[in-house]
């Protein structure tokens, strides 16, 4: 006997399932999946089945079921806890880009209206630079600067939200890496589920795509770190052990991501030993 979405078929004929898409979908889950013994349904042998003689009706019912399944599947994917975090962190990074581009342009504008402007002002931090530029500009120019300052406050609020959400969704990765960088890691991998299936060596170079491919194509040394470089213990490590720290951290992150995906709570014991191992990697003996 072989089970299909519409019913069971054996040499005596066909026993159709009754019910709407919802019932059929539930039924579908109970059909055992065994790729070796499965015989796909062949329309040419359909005359046995009282439900199927009309192909138009067959396809109509099947489509009804498949629309139901597809929509349920899309909803399920978007409901996963990391989906929104992903959008948040991408928005955050894009806010940075926009704000930098606008600041650069405003600087060029400011330079033209102020002959005394020189390179030394460029080194000022943004918070000082912007109010300085605002003095004496045209009304439209001042509005642009206001908008940039606005973006900065939006960014601060969003960053807090990202960290908070990351602590919730990625407790273990956040404990090792900090919420923001952990969220970026997930964003680069595509989803927490994908990240949790990556080996440590891939996590280590996540976000170093260009360097990795130029290495694989030939010649250049392999990248030591991708996104995890943003973590202080990697970028503060002495150069000679930086690769080692990145490697150990990435290996621990691979475990942390799996904990986040499947246990969904903080594993304090693991974090403790992992922190010790990472610190140990960073100390020069």
């Amino acid at each position: 006997m072989q089970s299909y979405w519409f019913g069971d078929v054996d040499e005596n004929g066909c026993t159709p399932y009754r019910g709407g898409p919802e019932a059929l979908a539930k039924r579908l889950e109970t059909i055992p999946s065994s790729p070796d013994s499965f015989t796909p349904f062949d329309w040419r042998n359909a005359e046995k089945c009282s439900f199927t003689p009309d192909r138009g009706e067959y396809i109509r019912k099947l489509r009804e079921l498949c629309f139901y399944l597809s929509e349920a599947g899309i909803t399920r994917q978007y409901e996963s806890r990391d989906a929104e975090l992903l959008q948040m962190v991408r928005t955050l990074d894009q806010l940075d880009e926009v704000s930098n581009v606008l600041t650069e342009r405003a600087l060029e504008w400011h330079r033209i209206t102020n002959p005394g402007f020189s390179r030394k002002y460029m080194r000022l931090p943004k918070q000082k630079l912007l109010p300085m530029m605002k003095r004496g500009g045209s009304p439209a120019f001042r509005q642009v600067i206001n908008e940039i300052e606005n973006l900065a406050s939006v960014r601060t609020a969003l960053m807090k939200e990202v960290s908070r959400r990351a602590d919730e969704v990625l407790p273990n990765c956040s404990a090792l890496l900090g919420g923001l960088v952990a969220a970026r890691l997930v964003s680069q991998a595509g989803s927490l589920a994908t990240l949790s299936r990556l080996p440590g060596s891939s996590i280590q170079v996540l976000g170093a795509r260009t360097a990795l491919f130029s290495h694989m194509r030939g010649g250049t040394p392999p990248p030591k770190h991708g996104i995890i470089f943003q973590h202080r213990r990697v970028h503060n490590a002495p150069k000679e052990v930086r690769g080692k720290v990145a490697r150990v951290l990435a290996a621990k992150l691979a475990i942390a991501a799996r904990l986040d995906q499947y246990r969904q709570e903080l594993a304090e014991e693991f974090i403790e030993t992992a922190q010790a191992a990472i610190d140990n990697a960073g100390s020069i003996t």
């Binding site: 790729p35 796909p40 396809i59 109509r60 498949c66 629309f67 597809s70 599947g73 694989m216």
Partner: protein, 202 residues
């Protein structure tokens, strides 16, 4: 296939993805669709009204919509939720498209929903692409055809595309699938090859 003034077209309701219209036909752009490129380069496998097509890697359903204009029934498999939203919208406007949200690498998960297919068309960016095609060949009729759009750069970025194609062909041969024809899709798609194959006769 329908050609109007040497432009490949299909007949169906327009406005699926902003495609151009030529008289009452929908223009099928070879630069956007690998299947269209295959026909521009003289591909001989013709889509016909009585065909059941299993389409792996349906994406947003742009090529699917053209295939559906020619073929009988199209089972469109896509895995990612975002293109799936577009695909569902396309399927709603074409009543011979069956959308399935599933991973093509796990055919047993959607097997009960399918039927035996006359053509398996595969366009997925996976290093395991050929293995996935072989796994899905269980749905293929004995005299059916499989058309694989080989993305050599997704299979191995570092290897020469020609070598990747050779490997893929021998991988198919080991799985008792004989290759009838291969075609590079230059200049429409770089480093992509079309492989037309069929199950080997016992």
């Amino acid at each position: 296939m329908i050609w109007v003034e040497n432009v490949l077209v299909s007949s169906g309701e327009g406005g699926v993805y902003g495609e151009r219209m030529l008289r009452e036909f929908r223009v099928w752009d070879p630069y956007r669709s690998k299947l269209a490129a295959y026909y521009y380069l003289g591909g001989e496998f013709e889509l016909k009204r009585d065909l059941v097509v299993l389409y792996l890697g349906a994406a947003n359903g742009t090529t699917v919509s053209h295939v559906a204009d020619y073929a009988g029934t199209v089972y469109a498999i896509e895995f990612a939720p975002r293109p799936m939203q577009d695909l569902v919208a396309v399927a709603r406007r074409r009543n011979n498209v069956v959308p399935l949200m599933a991973d093509a690498a796990q055919p047993d998960r959607y097997a009960p929903l399918l039927e035996v297919a006359d053509l398996i068309y595969q366009d997925i960016a996976q290093p395991e692409q050929v293995k996935i095609a072989i796994r899905n060949s269980m749905f293929l009729r004995d005299d059916g055809r499989m058309l694989i759009m080989l993305k050599t750069r997704s299979i191995d970025t570092a290897e020469e595309p020609g070598v990747v194609l050779e490997h893929s062909v021998s991988e198919l041969a080991t799985a008792r699938i004989s290759v009838l024809d291969t075609k590079w899709l230059d200049p429409y798609h770089r480093d992509h090859a079309a492989i037309l194959c069929s199950p080997a006769r016992n």
